[in-house]
């Protein structure tokens, strides 16, 4: 059975090689047959990888202990969901799973664009097949289907730390995010190769960009949620190198999502967007490289191997080839329309890019710095939370403030009417700043509070304007809001994401600035307090499961007005020599009480460590709001045909949208007309 998996991956590698060659030839010569053959062989590779994944899943689910991977990553006692998640629980399997995702995403993305942009899609197919081929090559090297000469009676099982719902979700989400970035990347390279440098490649891949941005972000949040509930150190984000490795591409793709809007709308930033997409994909690959090779010291040390050199070479080739292409097209890219004035939404987006890329660069530098010092012959150094927090705090506050500014500013340039919109948000921010300054007394927190208030005021102003437009047309405030979401889903969906970010920001600032913690050795009956909470230790309970020795502390949490039982657990897994702490968490919107059983003695005495983390729940709630907003932006929208009113040679205006604003300015309208006159879009029957 496992031979089938091996042959399927080997054949998939061949199919990828052929797909890349055929698609490139077809795209170059314009030969439809070769391009189609390329698509079909990418589909074939996807099908073969599906077979391979199915074989490995089957082996995991049916306890086929002849396969070494199954022995290492599952056991008879592993429950079914974790036998399935073992597919991506270790190196070889996760590479296979990754390749399969990439093949699936690639086929789906190309399917939609073959007719619309035949030449772009053919080149994108060649690029995707090359990237996929590299990953399938790694799968072949890693041999997930290697069999043992004899089948042991039982497997070693999945690492106990990974047996958690968060760990079932976290890796696939991150992988989907990384893999999804290959779609805009391949279309960007296709745009460079064909010289079709307008926003076509951006619109062709918009949905996939948002989807991969969303799943990368969701992966990061779920990872934090898992760490918070399992690792027992009271926090959800530790600036660990591997976390950073996923954060950097997320930051870069956030920058890209914003500047892509400028190119779609105003035609500016063409070269910049191509560079950003190349950067996002390269940092994603670099992140994978860091995760997969254990080059940097990290808590994610369960996913290491020797494929490092291949990865480094691949990332190097990608970067060099992409940058070479950019330079080759530089002259064509220089002519993109300029930014009229910095005091405009384009201007705000420029600063957004500066901040996001500065943030990403700082995080990347901090992550790589220890490697650099070691390479230069220095000793072991760490770059940890103090550096990253000093970076994230000011950049984060600036980004929050800019979020408000960008929402308020119009395209092209601001005038008196738009500047008047600043009154309410600025007033609100000042009020909150004064209030926070009087009571909170920490400059950083006051600045963050003011920035959040300003951005909140600005975002609410945008919703309010939509509602008022509804009132003006006589259909009512709510109708206006609904129309805004119906007609301008991307814009208002984006604002919902912004609101979610603001909610998260409150949670992040509060839980970092005002966390309280204490650790105490208690005998049964003794108590200690953190803030207004009193903890009473009532004794220990010992028990054992098939795999672990379980020690449970019975603790009473005395809050003003009520008493709650808390039972933090400490599990010892003799087979792995691993200790897992399961904190007891009492969570409300106001604060989390987080209690860990640190160690214990025979007489029932226990070392307990308690945190009071304010407003952590806001982080999860805000992330959910962000997710809803992001889904809104890509939710299929029925197409509105722009109506052009042409008077002689001059276009007067395009159709008015439902909220009463002109759909596009005159310059845009003129461009629209010129585009229409220049001929039908490539490949479409007129």
């Amino acid at each position: 059975m496992s031979e089938l998996g091996f042959y399927a991956t080997a054949l998939a590698l061949v199919a990828c090689g052929y797909a890349a060659a055929a698609a490139a030839y077809g795209a170059r010569t314009g030969a439809r047959r070769w391009a189609d053959s390329g698509y079909r062989s990418l589909w074939a590779a996807a099908g073969l990888l599906t077979v391979a994944v199915a074989v490995l899943l089957h082996a995991l689910v049916t306890h086929d202990f002849r396969v070494a991977y199954v022995v290492r990553n599952s056991s008879l006692a592993t429950p079914l969901p974790y036998r399935i998640s073992a597919l991506w629980g270790a190196q070889a399997g996760s590479l296979l799973f990754w390749s399969w995702l990439l093949a699936g995403v690639g086929c789906a993305a190309l399917r939609g664009q073959r007719r619309e942009h035949p030449q772009l899609a053919a080149w994108a197919n060649a690029v995707l097949a090359t990237v996929l081929g590299f990953f399938v090559f790694l799968v072949v090297i890693e041999q997930p289907f290697r069999t043992l000469p004899f089948a042991p009676a039982d497997g070693r099982g999945l690492m106990p730390l990974l047996e958690d719902p968060g760990m079932v979700l976290h890796p696939p989400l991150l992988y989907l995010g990384f893999v999804g970035l290959s779609v805009p990347y391949s279309f960007a390279v296709a745009a460079l190769l064909t010289g079709k440098l307008d926003a076509g490649w951006i619109t062709a891949t918009r949905t996939w960009t948002v989807v991969s941005w969303l799943s990368l972000g969701a992966g990061l949040v779920v990872g934090g949620w898992w760490a918070y509930r399992t690792l027992g150190w009271g926090g959800y984000w530790g600036w660990d190198p591997v976390e950073n490795a996923a954060l950097v591409p997320w930051l870069v793709s956030t920058a890209y999502l914003h500047s892509a809007v400028v190119q779609e709308r105003r035609g500016a930033f063409a070269a910049w967007n191509l560079a950003l997409v190349v950067l996002a994909f390269s940092t994603a690959m670099l992140g994978t490289f860091l995760t997969r090779t254990g080059l940097v010291v990290s808590v994610h040390s369960f996913a290491r191997s020797e494929i490092g050199p291949f990865f480094l070479a691949f990332v190097g080739v990608l970067l060099a080839a992409s940058l070479g292409l950019l330079l080759w097209r530089w002259e064509d890219l220089r002519g993109s329309p300029p930014v009229d004035h910095l005091l405009s939404r384009e201007g705000a987006f420029l600063f957004n890019n500066v901040l996001f890329l500065g943030f990403a660069g700082g995080v990347l530098l901090g992550t790589m710095y220890p490697l650099g010092v070691q390479a230069a012959g220095g000793g072991q150094v760490f770059v940890g939370p103090p550096y990253f927090q000093a970076l994230a705090a000011p950049v984060g506050v600036a980004l929050l403030g800019l979020m408000g500014v960008a929402v308020l500013l119009p395209w092209r340039r601001a005038g008196p009417r738009t500047l008047a919109r600043f009154r309410f948000p600025v007033f609100f921010a000042l009020l909150v700043a004064v209030g926070a300054g009087v009571s909170l007394r920490r400059p950083g927190v006051v600045a963050a509070a003011a920035a959040v208030a300003f951005a909140l005021g600005a975002t609410l102003h945008a919703f309010h304007a939509a509602g008022q437009a509804g009132v003006r047309t006589g259909r009512g405030y709510l109708h206006g809001l609904a129309e805004a979401f119906r007609g301008q889903r991307r814009r208002y969906g984006g604002y919902v994401v912004h609101l979610g970010v603001l909610v998260m920001a409150v949670g992040v600032v509060a839980s970092h600035a005002y966390v309280r913690e204490r650790e105490v050795l208690l005998r049964p009956g003794q108590s200690f307090s953190v803030g207004r909470y009193v903890f009473v230790h009532r004794g220990l309970e010992q028990s054992a499961t098939a795999l672990a020795d379980v020690t449970r502390a019975r603790v009473e949490l005395h809050e003003p007005g009520r008493v709650l039982p808390l039972q933090p657990v400490r599990l010892f897994y003799p087979r792995w020599g691993q200790v897992v702490t399961r904190p007891a968490i009492r969570s409300t919107l106001w604060d989390d009480v987080y209690l860990v059983l640190w160690s214990f003695q025979g007489d029932g005495a226990a070392t307990l460590r308690a945190w009071v983390n304010p407003m952590v729940r806001w982080v999860w709630v805000g992330a959910l709001v962000c997710g809803v907003g992001a889904v809104l932006t890509v939710w299929p929208q029925r197409k509105r045909r722009p109506v052009l009113l042409v008077d002689g040679a001059l276009p007067l205006a395009t159709a008015r949208t439902r909220d009463g604003y002109p759909a596009k300015g005159r310059r845009e309208a003129a461009r629209e007309v010129l585009r229409a006159l220049r001929g039908p879009r490539e490949g479409r029957v007129p």
Binding site: W233, L342, L357, V373, F382, V395, E519, W598, P662
Partner: protein, 138 residues
């Protein structure tokens, strides 16, 4: 918008913010221990600060930090004490000195340089006029 209508809402917000802030006081010993502990790396575990680590040694280090701070030593002195015992590698971030400045200043240079370039490149494009008021979204 009627500006007066917003005032009660805003004063309520102000009161809420004031009340929120009153719930927390100035940094006490627990918070200072945490501050020092998160500046130190746990020497026996991979990539965790003393504040986060679950190891025995880290727990002992936290106890030492608490003891020293309670005796009135400054946070810097406590950090220096651990650097003397375990070497530079116990620091959770490189000191702001020598090559460390490269790291600490890099983000500021990136952001400052980027913003400077944007202003230089696009800042003087055309004079600003009150008459023009941009375009709304479509």
């Amino acid at each position: 918008m009627n500006r007066l209508a917003g005032l009660p809402l805003l004063s309520a917000l102000l009161a809420a913010v004031l009340g929120w802030g009153a719930a927390w006081g100035s940094p006490d010993l627990d918070e200072r221990v945490r501050a020092v502990a998160s500046r130190l790396m746990c020497p026996v575990c991979e990539g965790r600060t003393v504040a986060e680590s679950t190891s025995e040694l880290a727990a002992q280090m936290r106890a030492v930090i608490r003891e020293k701070l309670a005796r009135g030593e400054s946070e810097e002195a406590v950090v220096a004490y651990f650097v003397e015992r375990y070497g530079q590698s116990v620091l959770a971030a490189p000191p702001r000195a020598g090559a460390g400045w490269l790291l600490w200043l890099a983000p500021a240079v990136l952001v400052g340089g980027g913003a400077g370039y944007v202003v230089y490149r696009f800042g003087r494009r055309s004079p600003w006029s009150w008459a023009d008021d941009g375009e709304e979204e479509s």
